[in-house]
C-alpha cells in the first residue's frame, strides 16, 4: 500500500482543474483549488490542511467539509480513504458564549 509518510514522494505537478473555484469549506470560504495547492505544498493530512488553510476551523468546526477535504486528498495523492484520519474534534460541540462557559459555580472553602 502506498504510504503518505515520505513527504518527498513525487505527486506530479499541480494542474488546475475546472472546478477549482468551488467552495469546500463554507465557514472559512476555502476553495477546492486552495486545498489542492496546499497538498502540493506538502500538506498531506486533513489536520495539516486545516492548520495551513483554516478549512474546518470555522463555526461548524468541519462538520460539513471534513469528508470533502478528505476525498480531495484521497484523489490528489492517490491513496485509500482508510489511510487518512479525520481532523481532530474539539470541544465545545457548539459555539458557547464566554459568559456561559465561564459561569460554573466554583466554591472555594
Amino acid at each position: 500500500m502506498k504510504s503518505i509518510n515520505d513527504r518527498s514522494q513525487d505527486i506530479g505537478p499541480f494542474v488546475s482543474q475546472t472546478d477549482d473555484g468551488v467552495i469546500i469549506c463554507r465557514c472559512e470560504e476555502i476553495t477546492k483549488g486552495e486545498i489542492r495547492q496546499a497538498i502540493h505544498d506538502g500538506m498531506f493530512t486533513v489536520n495539516e490542511i486545516r492548520r495551513y488553510l483554516r478549512s474546518g476551523m470555522g463555526l461548524c468546526q468541519g462538520q460539513t467539509c471534513g469528508r470533502l477535504v478528505k476525498n480531495i486528498v484521497v484523489q490528489e495523492l492517490d491513496v485509500i480513504p482508510a489511510q487518512l484520519d479525520p481532523a481532530t474534534s474539539r470541544s465545545p460541540m457548539r459555539p458557547v458564549e464566554m459568559k456561559v462557559l465561564g459561569n460554573e459555580e466554583v466554591t472555594h472553602v
Binding site: 498531506f44 464566554m98 462557559l101 465561564g102
Partner: protein, 375 residues
Amino acid sequence: MSKHTDIIIIGGGIIGNATAYYLAKKGLSVTVLEASKDIGIGGSSRNGGGVRQSGRDTRELPLAMWGIKNLWPGLSEELGVDVEYIQKGNLRLGKTEAHQKILQGLTDKAVSCGLDVRMIDGDEIRAINPYLSDEVTCASWCPTDGHANPLTATLGYYKKARELGVRFITESPCFELRKIKGVIRQVVTPDAIYEADKILVAAGYDSRRLLATVGIDVPMKPMKMECLVTEAEPPMFLQMLGTAEADFYGHQSKHGSFVFGGSSGLEPFNKDNGTPISSSIGASCTCRGIMKYFPALADAKIVRAWAGWLDDCADKVPVISPVEEVPGLYIACAFSGHGFGIAPAAGYNIAEMMVDGQSIIDLSALRYDRFKPKQ
C-alpha cells in the same frame, strides 16, 4: 532511497522544521523524522502565538531580541506563507501591588539587557487598549513584542524546507540513538535505521527518553496547558496580552478570532492519558480570567478548545547545545512553554552551530550540562 544524509533532525515541530530550513539553505542534506502522522502536531501548533521578548529570562532574551529584529519581520516573504506576524507590542497586565512588584522585577531585568520595556499606569494602558477594565492599574509595555500564527509559521517552515529538498518522514518514532566508534551515527525507528554525520534532537519532552539512550539527561517534565479560540469578531486590538498573575494571555488574530491561553493551576498534575486532551475545567476557568480584564468579550463565542504539552525545564529556559561527550549530537528542547517566539532565531543559530561550530548569538547559558545540585 538513501538512508544517509548530512544531518538528521528528530522532531517535526517548529524547532526541527526551522532548523531544517536554515540547514538546507546552507546546502546540507537533511532528513526530519517525525513520530506522528502530522507535521507540527506538538506544542508548535497548539501554542498561543506570542512573539515576546518581555518577561523572558535574561539567558534566552538575547536570542529572542535577535530573532525579532532580524527574522520575524521578513518571515512571511521568506517562507512564501503568511505567518501573520504583527508587531504592535505586549501589555503584561496587573491589578494589585503584588502584581506591580512582579512586573517591575521583570521589567528591570529586561531593561538591563537593552530591551525597550517600561511600566505604565491605568490611563496609559487604556490609551493603548480601551477595552481593558478599570481594575487594571499597571502594566509592563514592550512596543516591539507581538504575535504570529503558529500553525502557518510551523507549516511554512516545513513547506519551504521541503521545497529545498529536506526529506520529511512521518510516523517514524525514533527510539534509539547509536554511536559508532564513539561518535553519533544512527537513529533507529521501527521501520528503518537512518544514518547521518550529525543529529539534532528536537523532540520536545520526548527528547529526554531519546537522549537517555546515549547517556544524556535534560531535567524537564511534561506539563499540559490549554487554549481556546472565539469566533471571528470585529477588529478590537492588535497587542499581545498577558497578566502578572498568568491567569490568561492571548491576542486577536488576523482572522478576527481571539486566541487565549490560560491556566487552572492544576497543570503540573494533569492526567496523562497519552494525548493532550483539554480538561473539563480549563476553558471555563480561562473564560473567567478573560472576562475580569475584558468585560466586552463576555458575549464572544468559544468555538474550540485544545491542550498541548510543554517541555518544562528545571530552570525554565531551553537547552540549545552541542553535546561534546557524544560528538555530532546536538540538543534543542525544554523550551518550557515559550519556544514559539524564539523558534526562528533558535533554528537559525542551531544551523550555524551545527555547520560552522559557532552560533551568531552566544548560547553558552543554554548548555545541556548547566544543571547543578543546590548548594
